[in-house]
């Protein structure tokens, strides 16, 4: 047996025991590119498509628990997009309808590309990623799972099984810059969450570093400047400082898709726009930008 199609996690782990050299296949949208281009020649494959525990999602109190096999299309469906709006927005920017039907959240994590579109959202929501193996389960934060471009700390025989996220947390925005309106790898992407209850802003940047970057200085700064009672809108000057701090958190490179200068510039523009939108939306649009003090 060279290609396993387990229907349960237990069967998947058994497959790994049989073939420790088997490679994991989720949606195939990254895996198959490598196979088709002869960059990867798997001696055996464990396909996760039918594993029951990886499908679907559920609500557990204040948390949404997503099966790692959930696809981008499923993340865009009405119920889930209400609970996880940032992730739904990000999913809509991924590839094409064909890719969105096949690509999975677990796959996006496993591939660990610096440009992965779900990753900034997961970072901004402090996602808990559950990994399982024959030996049991463990939970990780995103930056403990993804440690470099296309590098994870997943061990042999380990499978990403779930992603746990807070349900309907605050106002969420996801912005992605690309040179075309569909099927484009992000030149820069930004996820931003305004946690009204927790009085904090989280801002995660993608495609501007080897891994997703939480712009913590910028977050801390703007969180301390927002009037959480909602009476006064933020100052333009604070916004400018926030944007500058976001830019200084970015570590972009020049490559064939774009330049470091542009990426740094773009991520600042996007973070600022995301914040303004998130703040304006919360107040039912009463915080029009033009009414802000300078």
């Amino acid at each position: 047996m060279l290609v396993f199609l387990p229907v349960s996690l237990e069967e998947a782990f058994d497959a790994f025991e049989q073939r420790p050299d088997a490679q994991l296949l989720a949606g195939g949208t990254d895996f198959m590119v490598e196979v088709n281009f002869a960059l990867r020649r798997p001696p055996a494959v464990v396909c996760l498509r039918k594993v029951a525990e990886l499908r679907g999602w559920r609500l557990e109190g204040p948390e949404v628990v997503l099966g790692a096999g959930i696809t981008y299309t499923e993340l865009m469906a009405p119920e889930l997009s209400g609970l996880l709006p940032g992730l739904a927005q990000a999913s809509r920017t991924v590839g094409s309808p064909q890719i969105r039907n096949a690509g999975t959240l677990g796959g996006n994590l496993g591939t660990a590309s610096p440009a992965g579109d779900s990753l900034p959202v997961l970072a901004a929501l402090d996602a808990e990623i559950v990994v399982a193996s024959k030996k049991g389960r463990r939970s990780l934060e995103l930056d403990d799972l993804i440690v470099g471009p296309k590098r994870t700390t997943l061990g042999p025989g380990e499978v990403i099984v779930e992603v746990r996220l807070p349900a309907a947390l605050g106002s969420q925005e996801f912005l992605k810059v690309g040179t075309r309106n569909a099927m484009v790898i992000a030149v820069a992407n930004v996820a931003l969450v305004v946690d009204w209850a927790g009085h904090s802003v989280r801002c995660a940047l993608g495609s501007v570093g080897p891994v997703v970057i939480r712009a913590r200085e910028a977050e801390q700064f703007i969180s301390s400047r927002i009037d959480w009672s909602g009476r006064t809108a933020p100052h333009e000057g604070d916004l400018a400082e926030f944007t500058a701090l976001v830019r200084s958190a970015a570590r972009p490179i020049d490559d064939h898709r774009s330049t470091a200068d542009y990426r740094r510039h773009a991520v600042g523009v996007c973070a600022e726009r995301a914040l303004v939108r998130a703040l304006a939306n919360h107040n039912g649009g009463t915080w029009e930008r033009t009414s802000w003090a300078s």
Partner: protein, 160 residues
């Protein structure tokens, strides 16, 4: 190439045998080179053009992005499975012809499958929804104008 494998796929309603295949073959390769179904086209092998689009368990996917051996148990429909019989055309295929939506034709099978999927799930799409639905299908010849017109024609005909 290492060990070869055998498996069965259900394509266009029929069980088909795949024998002595290399495990790394994409579903696209298997359809074209082993199952005598060359209607799906290979234009990029990385899910960026949609020429290889098929329906898998009712979902539109790029067959180049599917490991052939991983599609066991799934219901696969290709462009060859969309017309009723010999020399017959689906209404969508007829609309593509009537509106001039076919030039070189290389992208056409992928579009036909995508549009079948679109109208199945959304019988009354706006122009913008049509464009988004086919945003994963590249065409280099037509500039999409006549293709959009074909979808609108098919949409109207189904409403009537």
């Amino acid at each position: 190439m290492g060990e070869l494998i055998d498996y069965q796929l259900r394509v266009n309603g029929r069980e088909r045998d795949v024998a002595e295949a290399w495990l790394g073959e994409s579903l696209l390769y298997v359809l074209r080179e082993r199952l005598g179904l060359p209607g799906s086209k290979s234009a990029c092998e990385q899910g960026e053009c949609g020429s290889c689009s098929v329906l898998m368990d009712g979902k539109l996917v790029c067959s180049c992005m599917v490991l052939g051996a991983s599609a066991v148990g799934a219901d696969i429909v290709t462009v060859e499975g969309l017309s009723a019989g010999e020399n017959d055309l689906s209404d969508i295929q007829a609309a593509f012809l009537a509106e001039g939506g076919v030039q070189c034709g290389f992208c056409t099978p992928g579009f036909v499958v995508s549009v079948h999927d679109l109208l199945e799930h959304n019988p009354d799409p706006t122009e913008l929804q049509i464009r988004e639905a086919v945003s994963g299908n590249l065409c280099r010849c037509t500039g999409y104008g006549r293709i959009i017109a074909a979808v609108q024609t098919a949409r109207e005909a189904r409403r009537a």
